[in-house]
């Protein structure tokens, strides 16, 4: 446990020393300026437009920044051989992976809190609270995925490209499923049946990120504890799956 705590602290220190949080503040200022601009061009529903577009901007930014931080941090571990130093110490590989993930979780937590706090300028705290917790869950999934891909590829470009592809697909898969099952699709054709099967198979493996941090909660105040519970359960299941995949891959590596 102490080793996990040490590894997590080192990750948090790395975030501080690489001015990660300065970047977050800069991002917040850009978002705030963007919200002010939206306020100038809307005629009615100004708060709804400002809050929803700012929330969407912050959500995408959080996923981008945190994923990139995890990948670059892990790739650097491999490139400067510090991973070998860690593995030469009497700590199990699982402790190393979980320690790193715990550190990245701290970074994700601070990012979600700072981004969520910005929305308090426009929306009441219960809905912002739900949105922030949901954003944290989304970031935890993306963190675990980024960690897994960095351990697998050891390359920033490959790992980040897969993260982007995964994120876009996870947010669109429900729509793709609806289209595939819709009346426009000719289900008689063999190719269509094959594509439908592939989409259903993908949907089974991906988390439904379109249910996370919904703009509707921010604009129409429709978020509830049930929504959050669904998001939390999905996050626990998927993070455990991704950590298990990371451990499986990491234990097999001849390091």
């Amino acid at each position: 446990m102490k080793q996990i705590f040490t590894l997590a602290t080192l990750v948090a220190l790395e975030a501080l020393r690489t001015r990660f949080f300065a970047l977050i503040i800069l991002w917040l200022l850009i978002g705030f300026g963007f919200a002010l601009f939206i306020g100038q061009i809307t005629v009615i529903e100004t708060i709804a437009y400002q809050s929803s577009l700012l929330a969407a901007f912050l959500r995408l930014s959080a996923v981008y920044i945190v994923s990139l931080f995890v990948i670059t941090s892990m790739v650097r571990e491999f490139q400067d051989n510090s991973v070998y130093l860690w593995l030469s110490l009497p700590i199990p590989r699982s402790t190393y992976v979980i320690g790193k993930f715990s550190g990245f979780t701290l970074v994700a937590l601070f990012t979600a809190i700072l981004f969520g706090a910005t929305l308090l300028l426009f929306v009441s705290y219960p809905q912002v609270g739900l949105w922030t917790l949901s954003l944290l869950c989304e970031l935890l999934i993306m963190t675990a995925l980024s960690l897994f891909l960095a351990l697998t590829f050891h390359q920033t470009v490959q790992a980040f490209s897969v993260v982007l592809g995964f994120y876009i697909l996870a947010r669109s898969i429900a729509t793709l499923q609806l289209i595939a099952q819709g009346p426009l699709n000719n289900s008689q054709s063999g190719i269509n049946q094959l594509i439908n099967g592939l989409i259903n198979w993908l949907a089974m493996l991906l988390p439904s990120l379109d249910r996370f941090s919904q703009s509707e909660w921010i604009v129409y105040h429709t978020g509830s504890i049930d929504n959050l519970l669904e998001v939390v359960v999905q996050t626990i299941i998927y993070v455990i799956l991704l950590i298990a995949m990371s451990l499986f891959d990491f234990y097999r590596k001849n390091l």
Binding site: I41, A48, A55, G182, L184, S215, E216, V219
Partner: protein
């Protein structure tokens, strides 16, 4: 990482930096002016395609599309008239936006207050009809846009039967939150049309069925009823 003094940078590198910056500025100054050719508004893509591009967040997609559509009449720094807009495409875009975010009132405000302020009567009518069709989806929140459409039909188009159609739709779908004036619009339109007997019957019905509860409003309607009866005599 500490940095060395700028004096350690070779003069050639500084010269190259200044020169390239100067060339960039000159290049930009001599570049041709942005094209002012106005792009016609085309029909929106299929709903499914837009849904995919929304990344599972239709509300944000609706808001981005609405702001884009609102700014469509100012392209390349020039503002052009709504007459140059293809209103069939415009209506389709507004429908798609409302489909993505049905609770938003912005598209109906745009249709009833912006796009209907056009000289061409058929385009004005098209927008008013769009508001009328959309009203039935959610009368409790969309009545105000149809009320505005009724006023435009009466005063701008001078089409009293059309104004009456809109006002009657509002009255037929009245909710307790709706102000009395919205439900009474049809009375004034009927009066303008000379259909005094019909107006009198409606007022009598409103007073008889207990639809109106505010004392001031009851007094006003009673006075109106008396005035109408005098006119009819």
């Amino acid at each position: 990482m500490t940095q060395r003094s700028t004096r350690r940078v070779p003069k050639m590198v500084i010269g190259l930096l200044m020169l390239s910056l100067g060339i960039q500025i000159v290049w930009h100054q001599n570049a041709p002016e942005p094209s002012v050719q106005i792009q016609a508004l085309t029909k929106p893509p299929q709903l499914e395609l837009l849904r995919i591009f929304s990344l599972g967040d239709p509300i944000v997609a609706a808001k981005i599309l609405m702001l884009w559509l609102q700014a469509y009449d100012s392209q390349a720094g020039k503002v052009f008239s709504y007459q140059q807009l293809n209103y069939n495409s415009l209506q389709k875009w507004l429908e798609q936006i409302l489909h993505f975010d049905p609770k938003s009132q912005y598209p109906l405000l745009a249709a009833s207050h912006f796009y209907s302020m056009i000289g061409e009567p058929h385009k004005k009518r098209q927008m008013l009809e769009f508001v009328y069709q959309q009203f039935f989806i959610d009368p409790a929140t969309r009545w105000r846009w149809l009320a505005h459409a009724a006023i435009l039909a009466k005063h701008r188009l001078k089409d009293l039967p059309l104004a009456l159609k809109y006002a009657e739709a509002i009255a037929a779908h009245a909710t307790p939150d709706m102000p009395y004036w919205a439900q009474e619009m049809r009375l004034f339109i009927l009066e303008d049309m000379g259909e005094l007997e019909r107006a009198r019957l409606i007022i009598g019905g409103m007073l008889a069925n207990g639809q109106i509860t505010a004392p001031d409003e009851i007094k006003f309607l009673n006075e109106k009823l008396l005035a109408l009866e005098k006119q009819i005599r």
